[in-house]
């Protein structure tokens, strides 16, 4: 089955029609789901920014990196899951349009790079976190923090632009 056929099937689902407001009583469904998506994504980006700014030595310097990580990351992952569920619902409304949208694609390119960056950090600099937990993070950790800030800003930028280009 081709991608186009799959996207067409998704758009034909009743829940996708409801997301487009085509079913009586669902006229406000998309704005409501979008608002919940925004609430969740602000928690994702805000909590990640706290970690990134700590790695860059700009904020939360009185907090050990590992402690901040344990404190913040469970919320990051939970909020990401929530944002992903609501984002998927929004995607289903106009699956083919979004799939072909440049900004939508760039958003996921940014998120993909952010994931790679996180893995590199986690299995790289973070392995020796005990050595620099309370002090200045090594250069590789600072680079990871800067890249993460940049890439997640990209996710937000392109995400917002999707609404202006579809």
């Amino acid at each position: 089955m081709s991608i186009e056929a799959l996207l067409a099937i998704i758009e034909a689902w009743p829940i996708s029609a409801a997301m487009r407001g085509e079913t009586p009583g669902t006229e406000w469904l998309f704005p409501i789901i979008e608002t919940l998506h925004v609430m969740a994504l602000t928690l994702v980006v805000g909590s990640i920014a706290m970690m990134d700014l700590r790695l860059l030595g700009i904020a939360s310097r009185n907090s050990a990196v590992s402690r901040l990580s344990n404190e913040v990351l469970p919320w990051t992952w939970t909020a990401w899951g929530v944002a992903a569920v609501f984002g998927t619902l929004m995607f289903m409304a106009k699956a083919a349009t979004y799939a072909g949208n440049l900004q939508f694609r760039l958003k996921f390119v940014c998120m993909g790079f952010a994931a790679v960056n996180m893995l590199v950090f986690h299995f790289g600099a973070y392995r020796q976190v005990a050595r620099w937990d309370s002090g200045a993070p090594p250069m590789s950790a600072r680079v990871a923090g800067a890249l993460s800030l940049l890439l997640w800003s990209g996710v937000v930028f392109f995400g917002r632009w999707v609404g202006f280009t579809t």
């Binding site: 928690l43 805000g46 904020a59 050990a64 402690r67 919320w75 800003s153 632009w161």
Partner: protein
């Protein structure tokens, strides 16, 4: 009542310049969302700490002294980007009650936060121990979280409701 002012503002050279540049509003909105992330994630971290939810290695005063200054910085950025969007699209903002409700709630929650931060600074020891923490701490935490959530809802719904009133 604000309609004549909005119409006048929309005709000013500054507004016209912003309207002519198609990238201004989406870019401003993207920065706005990034700043919301800082404010909302910080508020949630503080409020959850006050409610005793989740695990935090930091005391209430440590958390507040670190995060509240970031909330003010982000709020300044929100004010600026919000102003840009208002000058660029005055009618969109001024006609919908969502905008005015949002502004009122921002004034309330910002005042509450300022009073809270001052109280913690004045008597950190009392706020750090759960046993001696003022009972209004939990009221503040719940009210502040609800207000920020409502502010996000109103912010997103400005764009979905203004055409009904224009």
């Amino acid at each position: 009542m604000f309609r004549p002012f909005a119409d006048w503002l929309g005709e000013t050279p500054l507004s016209k310049t912003l309207q002519d540049q198609a990238w201004v509003v989406p870019t401003s909105q993207s920065i706005h969302i990034l700043a919301v992330s800082i404010v909302f994630a910080s508020a949630c971290m503080i409020n959850l700490r006050l409610l005793g939810v989740g695990q935090s290695g930091r005391s209430v005063s440590q958390l507040s002294n670190t995060l509240v200054p970031w909330m003010w910085r982000a709020l300044a950025l929100l004010l600026f980007t919000g102003l840009v969007q208002t000058v660029a699209e005055p009618v969109r903002q001024f006609v919908t009650p969502m905008f005015w409700t949002k502004m009122l709630m921002i004034v309330i929650v910002a005042s509450m936060t300022a009073f809270y931060a001052k109280a913690v600074r004045r008597n950190a020891a009392a706020w750090d121990a759960a046993s001696s923490r003022p009972s209004r701490a939990k009221v503040f935490a719940i009210l502040s979280t609800l207000l920020w959530l409502a502010i996000i809802v109103c912010g997103r719904f400005i764009g979905y409701t203004w055409s009904f009133y224009a």
